[in-house]
């Protein structure tokens, strides 16, 4: 194991996979940074620092700095993948799926099904998502809610650097289109990461980050850390929380959730997207359907409100589920009789 940051785990995995497989190519806006300027290529290396050095190592054929043309970037990823390459395309902000959704949703997600199972589209679409930077309504959204409901896409939401490593490698090697959601607020977080060049985490396998037994908390991404904080606080009172990091929302590890709820009988799902048709409402419904007999309290979702993401500091922090709101929800399901 070696210690590295979330963003370093992304870059190093891309380097390792590009080295291993000449079919892996990357594309996106400013991923080289400095093209056509006095500073020259790699003056910047991607606004998230997740592509530094790639251009020098792998050259312009495999490291494609694109104009601001998200629809064409997503479409080119779809075409590269259909033509036998393994594109890793970057959408600078997840919010820009708005400009490019057709290529993701009607094209790459559906090729295999529409073409009778006779083709594959091994594209990875990486995108930075999430609130926490006061970047306001068009640069802060959590988009898993929209993409998880689309048949044909796999949706990955890593929380730790090690999960980035195993899940991104799996995404690049996976033969289906994969949406890889990177939380902006986690890029600078660090942790121990596997050095095994074949380390992969199969999709649909959640990670138990805290084991307790009294209540089940499901989350992923930035909010997982807040759930862990609540679990640690409650542990001091003798209350045990199972904290489940979903890792992927499609496929979803139903078994891990159901197994835990069968023991705890109490469920809180903490989700960064608004409540309607959300990951939280989806998981609560699944548990109500499949573990009804085990439930000791109604399952509860903790989401931001049904509003766009606001700008001002006070507004954004009131928008995001806080440690206090998560704690209140957990106490509510615990005290239900």
């Amino acid at each position: 194991m070696v210690k590295m940051m979330y963003r370093e785990a992304i870059l190093s995995t891309i380097v390792e996979e590009m080295t291993r497989d000449p079919n892996v190519v990357v594309l996106g806006e400013d991923i080289v940074g400095g093209m056509g300027t006095a500073g020259g290529p790699e003056a910047i290396g991607g606004i998230w620092s997740t592509s530094i050095g790639l251009f020098g190592k792998f050259g312009a054929n495999r490291v494609i700095d694109t104009p601001i043309s998200e629809s064409a970037i997503m479409g080119a990823a779809a075409g590269l993948a259909l033509a036998g390459k393994r594109p890793v395309a970057e959408l600078m902000f997840a919010d820009f799926i708005g400009v490019s959704l057709d290529q993701i949703w009607n094209q790459m997600a559906k090729f295999r099904y529409m073409f009778g199972g006779k083709t594959k589209c091994p594209a990875v679409i990486r995108m930075a998502y999430g609130a926490g930077f006061n970047a306001a309504a068009q640069h802060s959204q959590a988009v898993h809610q929209i993409l998880t409901g689309m048949p044909g896409l796999k949706v990955v939401m890593p929380t730790t650097p090690n999960d980035v490593k195993g899940l991104l490698r799996q995404a690049i090697r996976d033969d289906d289109p994969v949406i890889f959601l990177e939380h902006k607020a986690l890029y600078g977080s660090s942790g121990e990461v596997s050095e095994d060049l074949d380390y992969v985490i199969p999709f649909g396998h959640a990670r138990l980050s805290r084991a307790g037994g009294d209540v089940t908390i499901v989350s992923t991404g930035l909010l997982l850390g807040r759930c862990e904080k609540v679990a640690d606080m409650l542990a001091a009172e003798g209350i045990g929380c199972d904290v489940i990091d979903l890792r992927t929302t499609s496929p979803i590890d139903e078994e891990a959730i159901l197994d835990s709820v069968e023991v705890t009988g109490r469920l809180v799902v903490v989700d960064e997207a608004p409540p309607r048709c959300s990951m939280a409402s989806d998981i609560c419904a699944t548990v109500a359907e499949k573990a009804f007999a085990s439930l000791k309290a109604p399952p509860l979702g903790v989401n931001p409100p049904h509003t766009p993401v606001p700008f001002a500091r006070e507004l954004e922090s009131a928008y995001l589920p806080s440690v206090e709101k998560i704690e209140a929800a957990v106490r509510k399901v615990l005290s239900f009789r």
Binding site: E29, D30, G33, G34, M35, G36, T37, A38, G39, G40, A43, I44, I47, D65, P67, I68, S69, E70, S71, A72, D95, F96, G98, V99, F133, N134, A135, A136, A137, Q138, H139, P305, H306, T307, P308, P310, F311, A312, R313, E314, L315, A318, Y319
Partner: protein
């Protein structure tokens, strides 16, 4: 055409307000009091002001992520904008939008925009509305050299041509889209206007660091579009004096580039030189305005800092009119 003394003073003042608004933000952002992404318009003032001074309040504009200059030039309130950028409840958008989403639709300012390329289609809609009304009003889409590569911009241009909409596509070519040079990203041989021309509309080109070039160009363009001849496009060559966003290390710039453009391509210096040289205004006239504007900005900052902060309950309002 010779501008009146009043018009000259007003144009200078408008450019100076934008300049000092942005220079002050550049300083205040470093203190940590302002949240979010801020893209400063410094260097491009002559475009916003040269365009908007030729508009009426019935004409509409649609802006970009680098929107402060367009907003101020179209008449958005300085205090309201400053308060918005400081995230105050008394801001123009109640602290909900911030720098990238400043709007004042009543003034014909239909929004800054966080989505590059989103503005041009919206301007076409506003232009079609003006066409229906038949009063000779126009709608302007401000776009950058980066936004000109977005499919939405292409679609909007063709749409405007085939519907003969009174839309004007202003391309502010500041040579960079974030950290990428336009020579790399724009395929039509360093030329955005010719691309617009290929869509079938009349084009103009102007010097976006010279107020008089912008002003004269816009008089012609507006006369043409208001007369019902259909859409037009203008490429203004200009400069951005700061980074793409505040905090940008700007490693893509050449040595001495910023000093050079501040020296030779500063629209305020050029304006001062030409009006004093021609004996139209004196240095004293302009110095008096400079002092007035600095005070206005200082006041705006004091008010913004003292203004009410939004509360958690404010998150829930303004999503719908009724629900």
């Amino acid at each position: 055409m010779q501008l009146s003394r009043e018009a000259l003073l007003r144009a200078y003042r408008q450019m100076k307000v934008i300049r000092e608004f942005e220079e002050r933000l550049h300083i205040d952002i470093q203190t940590g009091g302002i949240a979010g992404f801020t893209h400063l318009y410094c260097g491009q003032e002559a475009v916003a002001v040269g365009v908007c001074e030729n508009l009426t309040s019935d004409d509409k504009i649609v802006s970009t992520h680098r929107g402060h200059g367009h907003c101020l030039a179209k008449g958005c309130d300085v205090n309201g904008m400053m308060a918005e950028i400081w995230g105050s409840r008394e801001g123009l958008c109640k602290g909900k939008g911030g720098s990238m989403h400043i709007a004042d639709v009543d003034k014909g300012m239909m929004g800054a925009n966080g989505i590059v390329g989103a503005g041009a289609p919206i301007a076409v809609g506003a232009a079609l509305s003006a066409k229906i009304d038949g009063l000779g009003h126009v709608a302007i889409a401000f776009s950058g050299d980066g936004a000109c590569n977005q499919g939405t911009t292409f679609e909007a241009m063709n749409f405007a041509v085939v519907t003969n909409a009174p839309a004007i596509f202003i391309f502010e070519n500041n040579h960079y889209s974030e950290h990428t040079g336009f020579e790399y990203a724009v395929g039509t041989n360093n030329d955005i206007a010719s691309r617009a021309e290929a869509f079938g509309m009349k084009i103009w080109r102007g010097d976006g660091t010279d107020f008089f070039s912008v002003d004269e160009t816009m008089r012609e363009v507006l006369e043409y579009v208001r007369a019902g001849h259909g859409p037009a496009a203008v490429e203004f060559d200009t400069e951005r004096f700061f980074g793409h966003f505040e905090g940008d290390p700007q490693r893509y710039r050449g040595p001495g580039e910023l000093d050079r453009i501040r020296e030779t391509r500063d629209c305020l210096k050029r304006f001062r030189m030409s009006v004093t040289g021609a004996g139209l205004l004196t240095d004293a006239d302009l110095d008096a305005l400079d002092a007035e504007v600095l005070q206005q900005i200082e006041d705006a900052v004091i008010k913004a800092k003292a203004a009410d902060r939004p509360t958690a309950a404010d998150v829930l309002t303004d999503v719908y009119i009724s629900y």
